[in-house]
């Protein structure tokens, strides 16, 4: 359909400009840093060799941490993937009223608006020895430091993603198969297995792998409830930001973290391709009345809402009482203290600037990259290079990228600047926004650029006047995704943020060291409020952008 672009080279000036901008940014802020980590693992001050590997593996700390991470992430994924699917089923396939389904979705997705490091502290305040739930039950339900707390934190972290993945997949499962199965005399359970569970096996497996990848590379949860149960992320942090940073060992640990991530990424891509494709989205017919089914759906939804509510009620309670759990009189003193602290306010400002900057740069980069691959007639190598950059961004864990930035940019004028945080976040997040943009641009009419060109437009002219206005809903969605993620991310930022460019999440890590948990919860609450406001604003803008 888009062949035959050999008509004029002049028409490629715009596409090449877009390509080289993306390529230059990706080379500087993705390929170069990641390459530097790979090199640094093998080449130290004493020359090339495997010295760093020997050092990293000495005493068995790294293999143990790898096993610990794999165990906790595996457990969490094994819970989150089926639970996510169960909730997706409750929301999409039951006859629950619209408000109930909206509430289940909303509360299940709420943790996405908070940094993972906050989950850990919320768990401590809910299930710790003097936690809210513990005092209600008059007994601690499970030990929170170590595997138990870690797994719970990871489940809270990955459940929203597992839910989103399976919910989107359910939208493409043709409901008529269920009807046909019932008409042919199948029992409800058999009909469910045949028409829903079977086609969803791929997406549930994908949700498992994605949850594992997220948990395995997460830094926030182990930072708060890991205790002496060392994960790879914790080990990397200790070796790099402890008393004696060792770049060689850090790079080896980063590689150990990178390899499973690469495997997970390609496994996910394979699962995506292997998935059953239905020709059209399922129609939105209301399901037939079925009370037991709806009761089960309601129960599942209630469990999820209860989990979110019990854990995160602490975020809403702790900042507003004098000193939990000793003095529970309500007060606004903590909030006032944070709002009156110029240092903490500067941190919030930094977070906001970094998140807005990330949203802008990441949206632009993803848009330019997607324009190159689906709406230009550039040679195949350009398109391959762009999708390779997006792939690399999807494989590299945030901590690895953060460490890589520290390795390459410390001491340069860019070092520890907000601009560098923006660039780091951009390439940490790029893969998903790129895929979102690509999907949106593929759906637009393929002839617009040719039509514009025949009416005297340069490529960039048609892109500005026609393609961009018609892609504005996707652009808004990507902008929101990047903004929220930049507000809550901690893994990469922890290595890049400096003393004057600390953002809210990296500051929380620092406040933990001083035991200032009231401030931590107030900052978390501020992040939540900003994200809620941003989400509401974008939803409003999206409604306006609808034709």
């Amino acid at each position: 359909m888009r062949r035959g672009g050999d008509g004029s080279a002049g028409g490629l000036r715009g596409p090449y400009a877009a390509f080289w901008s993306v390529a230059a940014l990706a080379a500087l802020f993705l390929a170069l840093p990641v390459g530097a980590v790979a090199v640094r693992a093998f080449v130290g001050e004493g020359g090339a060799g495997l010295g760093a590997f020997a050092e990293a593996f000495r005493g068995g700390a790294l293999p143990r941490a790898l096993l610990n991470s794999a165990l906790a992430a595996g457990l969490a994924a094994a819970i989150a993937a089926p639970a996510g699917f169960a909730l997706a089923w409750a929301v999409r396939c039951s006859g629950l009223p619209r408000w109930a389904r909206a509430a289940i979705s909303g509360l299940t997705l709420l943790p996405m608006l908070l940094p993972t490091i906050t989950y850990g502290f919320a768990i401590v305040y809910a299930f710790g020895r003097q936690g809210v739930v513990t005092s209600l039950l008059e007994a601690q339900p499970f030990p929170i430091y170590g595997l138990g707390g870690l797994t719970l934190g990871y489940v809270i972290y990955t459940l929203p993603t597992a839910f989103l993945l399976t919910r989107n997949a359910l939208d493409y499962v043709d409901r008529r198969f269920g009807t046909v199965a019932r008409l042919m005399g199948d029992t409800p359970w058999r009909a469910f297995v045949q028409a829903t569970l079977r086609p969803m096996a791929g997406p549930i497996a994908a949700a498992f792998v994605q949850s594992f990848f997220l948990a395995f590379t997460d830094f926030g949860v182990p930072a708060s409830v890991g205790g002496s149960f060392k994960t790879v992320a914790g080990l990397l942090y200790d070796r790099m930001l402890g008393s004696l940073p060792d770049f060689g060992v850090g790079s080896v640990i980063a590689l150990a973290m990178l390899l499973p991530s690469v495997a997970a990424f390609f496994l996910l891509r394979w699962l995506g391709r292997a998935q059953t494709r239905y020709e059209r989205p399922a129609d939105d017919l209301p399901p037939p009345r079925n009370l037991p089914r709806d009761a089960l759906a309601a129960l599942l939804g209630l469990c999820s809402c209860l989990l979110t509510a019990t854990v995160f009620c602490t975020v809403l309670i702790v900042p507003f009482v004098e000193a939990w759990p000793y003095a529970t009189a309500p007060t606004l003193a903590h909030v006032r203290a944070v709002l009156g602290d110029p240092g903490l306010m500067a941190v919030c400002r930094n977070s906001l600037v970094a998140a807005l900057g990330t949203a802008a740069l990441c949206t632009l980069t993803a848009y330019a990259a997607a324009l190159v691959t689906v709406r230009s007639e550039l040679p195949a190598w350009c398109k391959d290079a762009v999708s390779a950059a997006a792939t690399l961004s999807g494989c590299v864990p945030g901590m690895v990228l953060g460490l890589a930035f520290m390795l390459v940019f410390s001491g340069t004028p860019l070092g520890h600047s907000l601009l560098l945080i923006v660039c780091c976040n951009t390439f940490h997040f790029l893969n998903a926004p790129y895929l979102m943009m690509k999907g949106a641009l593929e759906k637009l009419n393929a002839r617009w650029e040719t039509t514009g060109r025949l009416m005297g437009d340069a490529w960039a002219g048609t892109v500005l006047r026609v393609v961009t206005p018609n892609a504005r809903r996707a652009l808004l969605a990507v902008f929101g995704y990047c903004f929220v993620n930049a507000m809550v991310t901690v893994s990469a930022v922890i290595f890049v943020a400096g003393a004057r460019t600390a953002v809210a999440t990296s500051k929380i890590k620092e406040l933990q060291f001083f035991g200032r948990f009231d401030d931590i919860f107030v900052l978390s609450l501020l992040i939540l409020l900003v994200n809620l406001a941003a989400t509401a604003l974008l939803r409003l803008a999206d409604r306006k952008a609808q034709p």
Binding site: R3, G4, G5, D6, G7, S8, G10, G11, N445, R447, W448, T450, T451, G452, R453, L454, M455, G456, D457, G461, R465, V466, P469, N470, P547
Partner: protein, 250 residues
Amino acid sequence: MLEVRNVSKAFGGKTILRDLSLGIGTGEIVSVLGPSGSGKTTLLNLILGLTRPDSGRILYDGEDLTDVPAERRRFNIVFQDYALFPNLDARANILYGLRNHPGASSAAEVDALVDLLGLREHLGKRIDQLSGGQRQRVALARTLVLKPRVLLLDEPLSALDGVIKESIKARIRQIAREFRLTTLIVTHDPEEALTLADRVLVLEGGGIAQYARPAELIGRPANGFVKAFILRQLEIKRENILALFQAARA
């Protein structure tokens, strides 16, 4: 006079057009007919300048356009799906090209064109509020505002309902006469091709099977392919329709 001289084109080792030559007089309507894969779309893209021929030349009034990029040939096309811009209303779509070519049509000429195509009452509508026929007329107007020397139409009737087809056919003929516009219409429907055009170009396997007036094509089909592909279809249609009318009369 538009001339295609000894043009060949291959994609990835597969020959699409082989040493093709033809001439189209100014103001003439020619339809290009052929099964899928016969090279219709490639011929269209070559004339338009979206694709370069591997060999051969393309000329207009003696001027060699082979190396002139598409946007400077002053040829234009209405695509099968119209490729209208949904973020703009009908009026803004029609006037789109005038931003880059302000002098192409005067305000009065645009007005006359809008009336000719019966679009006056639809100018403020969004594209998704227009019917298929209205969309096509907006796409035609958007193209004609720029006064192209050659107008290419890719399957102009295939997306339209039966009733509206005949009126659009009449409109296309009217425009070609009024503007003395050289018009090339790609189609796969023999009835459409033969009732719309002054001459019909039948393509087969990248070469010309026959290039003739409709009556000549019917009366003296050049080979078995033209007979099988065109005459046979038309004959079946005629028999079916005649049978219908006879049954009604009986």
